[in-house]
Amino acid sequence: MRTIVSTAAAALITALTIAPLAYMVVVSFMPRGESTTLPTPLWPSRWSLENYHELLVRRQFDGAWFDYRIVPALVNSIGVAAVSTALGLLLTVPAGYAFAKLRFRGRERGLQLLIASLVVPGQVAMLPLFLIFKELGLVNSYAGVILPSLAGIFAILFVRQATLAIPDEMLDAARIDGASEARIFRSIVLPLLTPIVVTLALFLFLGSWNDFLWPLIVLADQHLYTLPVAVAAIAREHAADGELMMAAAVVTTMPVLLLFLALQRYYLTGLLGGSIKG
């Protein structure tokens, strides 16, 4: 009896939480204008793809091409997120390992500075960073979008924490056998860190995909917009077109939701620190 009640409570809360996402999908398939009829429909009268068609397909209007630039923005977002994830891993994983296991002067001081800098909100650096990037010619470029995301303080600490668990004896044994430091990292440390690297890759990808404020600041050219910036721009002009906006929201949220569902095992255990069972 208690099992039924508690499970039903959990199911109810979950249903309420998922409802907005489900409704978003349902409305995106309604014919244009249906969502703004009374009483508010919960289900499409017929399933229609016209919102996706309007959003994703280029059309000619009075001799000029017109589109919402969602497909280019989708491509931009995938590119930006892929590059920031790859470069982010390349930079932070070796650094996290170095801070955990390699003895070098300045390590402790560096670590303290990294931890202290977690208190400073990123927005403080944002305005001067814009000016610096303007001097460097990085404003309105993907380099300008990606570079700040590579300053992965959290990522370094995350990798360091996981690396601490690798026994020193293992690394020292390899050193005595004559393995180079690079080889130790590649052949011993990286394989052991694989789950952590996957988790971090997912964190970095989602972070980049969902980032809004900085791309909004640094990108002026519509052709360079990432998905959230493009969606915010469309939302300003097409607030009344519920079905169209829901289709845009679906296009923005679904890729990462599916990625998360596929890799949730890594993501959630990464957050849980491996402490929880079923």
Binding site: T14, T17, A95, Q123, A125, N210, V231, T253, L257, L261
Partner: protein
């Protein structure tokens, strides 16, 4: 230099250099610029730049919209933190109950909103909050509540955005609390049960002390998060109605990138930083007193 020393630097120097360029240097510059009149004129030619000392800060104090933004941000934090943390803790406790079936399924689905884009889901929620056609008013109408103009009324705009934010983020802290709850000593819980401690008593004297540090950390991070609220009002209300959702960061963005008053905007950024720092220090103090740290 030993081989390890060389490798250590080789591995850490690139990312440290980037952190210095995009974080440390700009943060230092932010302080420097906050005492100048950096504006669109200085943007064109550096020689127009003048030192104004604390002028920007004094100006801000006499700007009504800044006070408004400060008040709104405080309201977001004061209402939002208990709402978000309370929901997370409640759900984590519910899911921690041994009798609940299919826990991993609920956990994954409850976490899903956290990984979605703020902009896209804010668009969805703006639609749900629509006065005439929104699903929320339809649901309220079913129990006899008159339609509410959620995002159009200055009294309900902040609660509406908070409902959205809570929905979006509670899954994250729920997972964090779940991890902490799994560390609550089972034998202590049993002993309390045998001694006849009530449900609330067991929570107060066994669970709470065990998850205290996690709770504190989650609160610190949530306060910082709510003080930095921006994208939600930007997409849902454009800071309105009647400036009721203009936050400090929203104000800073407008000052900086709409009016190009970068000196003034940097002063705002610094005040925001000091606020977050102050709140963090206070919370850490409280934590120490309760021996949670």
């Amino acid at each position: 230099m030993t081989r390890q020393e060389r490798t250590g630097w080789l591995f850490s120097a690139p990312v440290l250099a980037i952190i210095a360029l995009v974080f440390v240097l700009p943060t230092a510059l932010a302080l420097a610029l906050s005492v100048t009149d950096y504006s669109i004129y200085a943007l064109a030619d550096w020689s127009n730049l003048e030192f104004v000392g604390l002028g920007n800060f004094v100006d801000l104090l006499s700007t009504p919209l800044f006070w408004r933004a400060l008040g709104n941000t405080m309201l977001f934090a004061v209402l939002g933190v208990p709402m978000a943390i309370g929901t997370s803790l409640f759900v984590a406790l519910l899911l921690n109950d041994a009798t609940v079936r299919w826990k991993p399924l609920w956990r994954v689905l409850l976490f899903a909103p956290y990984v979605t884009s703020i902009v896209a889901t804010a668009v969805v929620w703006r639609f749900l909050f629509n006065q005439r056609f929104g699903l929320i008013n339809r649901a309220l109408g079913a129990v006899g509540v008159a339609p509410i103009d959620w995002l159009g009324d200055p009294h309900t705009s902040i609660p509406a955005i908070l409902i959205f934010v809570t929905w979006k983020i509670f899954g994250y802290n729920m997972i964090v609390f779940t991890a902490a709850l799994s560390a609550v000593p089972v034998d202590l819980m049993e002993a309390a049960r045998l001694d006849g401690a009530s449900r609330w008593g067991r929570f107060r004297h066994v669970t709470l002390p065990a998850i205290g540090p996690t709770l504190l950390l989650a609160t610190v991070m949530s306060v910082a998060g709510f003080l930095q609220i921006f994208a939600e009002p930007y997409v849902m209300t454009l800071g309105g109605p009647a400036q009721s959702t203009t936050t400090v960061l929203y104000f800073m963005f407008d000052e900086g990138f709409k009016w190009w008053n970068l000196g003034q905007a940097n002063a705002v950024a610094f005040i925001l930083f000091l606020m977050i720092l102050a709140v963090t220090i206070i919370q850490t103090r409280i934590g120490r007193r309760h021996e949670w740290l």
